[in-house]
Subunit: 188 residues, 2 copies
């Protein structure tokens, strides 16, 4: 049985992208934050993306710019096993990436029951909302950034039932980010 | 010069009320949380409300039920100086309450310059969004509750410019709430 985690950057008003779909406001690098994200990318988990987030990540991490700016994170992102959910993508060019073409909830439900590394979702709001509604996400790791966007999209659009969570731990960073760890309390 | 603080309960997805306008999901009382809220109500600040939040509070805190369930908080809420912003309310029946009838931003801008206790906004999303957009709120005290609502209203509807904040401190509670303290970095 694999666990599924969502690792997500949001604004104080709960948006993971602003009204234009931009998430560049979330990149507040300093030494502590860079070390934290590099530590996350150094593990052996697998990553799960929706199509939009995949395209953005696949366009950035293999680039020389990423290797220069964040070498440790880039090495991890390129090395890790990745899955992208898409009905239209024929194949994925980013190293170690597999396309999931079937029904999202069914496919991920089956992956959870199989052996393999835990799955971490990055960004990919529509994936988070669908899997949250289906009770398939075990842990939410939500990074609250120190700003208000005013408008944007939440990670939980289309979630119709209140989803109770259990707070596990928190950590505040010198760049003003706070990460909140929650276990899902949804009935499955 | 008075400071203006917003003390607000939100869900993890950033909503202060759900799609039906309900905020009863935010009431997770335990000994630690009750002591914290009683401490807040024991000071000498003044409270600022929009009409909807005022009506809800004025209907609850003076009642025998509130005195029995949360005697210390109720005593403080009834004793504190209160302001309600309303164009239509003629007078306010709740003890120590004054009606503010003029333009919100002008009135509060003038109050800030005058002498008197600091002002704390509770709930009152439309007041928070208008005063945030005008750069009149000095500090945000945001309590993130351990649940996802899926739908609702944010505190910052209508805020058109990104509002940068400075994280001051955080505190996690045994009931799963986390309070995040921010100073506004808006230019005034």
């Amino acid at each position: 049985m694999r666990k599924i985690m969502a690792f997500e950057q949001v604004s104080l008003d709960g948006f993971f992208v602003d009204a234009k779909g931009d998430m560049s406001w979330a990149h507040k690098q300093d030494a502590e934050w860079t070390a934290f994200t590099a530590g996350n990318a150094s593990g052996n988990g697998a990553l799960l993306f929706g199509r939009k987030t995949y395209d953005m990540m696949a366009g950035f991490w293999p680039s020389p710019m990423a290797m220069q700016a964040m070498p440790e994170v880039a090495e991890g992102m390129n090395r890790l096993t990745k899955f992208v959910v898409s009905r239209t993508l024929e194949s994925a060019s980013w190293r170690n990436t597999t396309v999931i073409k079937g029904d999202l909830v069914t496919s991920i439900g089956e992956m959870k029951k199989s052996d393999g590394p835990d799955l971490v979702i990055l960004g990919s709001g529509s994936i988070v909302s669908q899997l949250s509604a289906a009770g398939l996400i075990d842990e939410f790791q939500i990074i609250v950034n120190p700003l208000v966007l005013g408008q944007g999209r939440t990670l939980f659009e289309g979630v119709r039932e209140k989803l109770p969570l259990k707070l596990i731990k928190t950590r505040a960073f010198s760049n003003g980010n706070v990460i909140l760890y929650y276990e899902s309390q949804a009935q499955r």
